[in-house]
Subunit: 227 residues, 2 copies
DNA sequence: CTCCTCTAATCGTCGGATGATTAGAGCCTA
DNA sequence: TAGGCTCTAATCATCCGACGATTAGAGGAG
């Protein structure tokens, strides 16, 4: 086990033992390095790794702090590895997204607030104008697409689902998806699906929300190579 | 953007551009540091971070190589952050596990091989002896539990689901779960659930497999604090 | 041809030095 | 006194050079 691994493990253990809580400040590098019995260089490698994993946050001139450890923050780095996946893995990843978002839609139908409905309504209302112009502004369509799905996932009541779907359907992933199906009015079809989902949410009907979301994401998925 | 971030981004970009493929060896530290315009220390911090994310693998005396980039390898580090979650997040995480494994069971019923059935049969056959002795060897029960669920997920045909459920239901997580419900024959109940799931798999019946898996995991979930 | 030894290459770790950034004390001014 | 400014100390960011640990591969012995 390398020194750096010992640092990572040591800090992780301090958090698990309650010696460090979210928001707490870590000892300064020289102190912590001595406490863990490693040089400052090795310590920095370990702290940097934890920083990239979203467990701690370092500010030059100030210090290093334990983050909130929220699922949203800790799952975000996963988006990094999702982007590295080749086309062969696009389908299994999207299947996971579909399974989770389908359930999220059903939950959201039971829990969404009037504010959430209004906000998603505003997003959808802006889309027809986008699709009417030629050429269509695909970037802005993707923005609206992301915004709608994000609102639905956020109202599922499960922050882990919200964080996972966010990373599984990031902007770069969506750009790949849209590129693969930019032939026959795919965006119009997607927008119609969104409207159907919205109506189910507005009616607080989980079954309809589930079915429409499942069909919507399945349509996208069927444009992907088999995997 | 720090030097280390530039290193991470630079190597990531090399992979995305095809300059580095799985199995390829990275340039030696001194060369790569010069190519990226950073010192060897900063380079090492970046490479170490990528190593912890499972993207590269370094061997002292040999060199640094790009890993296979398989979903299983890249999602494994997520288990690290799952363990850091407090009890308040246990329920949403387990909900995700339940949703994914339920679907995995249905898929596995359609795809599982005779070897997979035989292997899971062997695992289940060993459990009654474990439960008969007093006191029950909880560690070995957890082992069997993990083995059974792993086989099912592996035969879902989706490596991402297999990897995610593995990290969401690691040994440490399971120990927490079992501790919360060690009152009233929970292990016997779990084993009976497993048998019901196995029969559905053996009959290649996805509906029954789905239902039994859902009920099995829901039972576990109901012992968790509301979140 | 096989095995062993030895060397060179490479990563792992350390210590020190310097620059960049921040927070906070102390001072000044209105 | 309240507010803003300056300056200082603390802290992290980066770099450099050195040496130890490990591995792969060349070369020789049998």
């Amino acid at each position: 086990m390398s020194r750096t691994d010992e640092v990572v493990d040591g800090i992780k253990r301090m958090i698990l033992a309650g010696e460090l809580s979210p928001g707490d400040r870590l000892p300064v590098e020289n102190e912590l390095a001595e406490a863990l019995g490693v040089s400052r260089g090795s310590l920095r490698e370990g702290v940097r790794a934890l920083s990239i994993l979203g467990i701690v946050h370092t500010r030059q001139g100030d210090g290093t702090y334990v983050t909130s450890l929220d699922p949203g923050r800790l799952l975000a780095p996963m988006g990094f590895v999702v982007e590295l996946q080749g086309d062969s893995s696009a389908r299994p990843f999207h299947q996971v997204r579909r399974i989770l978002e389908t359930e999220a839609a059903a939950q959201a139908a039971l829990r969404i607030t009037d504010e959430g409905l209004a906000e998603s309504r505003t997003v959808l209302d802006g889309v027809p104008a986008l699709l009417a112009q030629a050429p269509v502004d695909h970037d802005r369509f993707i923005e609206a697409d992301i915004a709608f799905h994000r609102i639905v996932a956020a109202h599922s009541g499960n922050p882990v689902i919200a964080a996972l779907t966010e990373t599984l359907a990031s902007r770069t992933v969506r750009e790949r998806l849209l590129r693969g199906q930019r032939q026959s009015g795919a965006e119009e079809r997607a927008h119609a699906d969104h409207e159907a989902i919205w109506r189910a949410l507005a009616d607080r009907d989980p079954d309809r929300a589930r079915t429409h979301m499942a069909a919507h994401l399945l349509t996208v998925e069927e444009s992907l190579p088999t995997g």
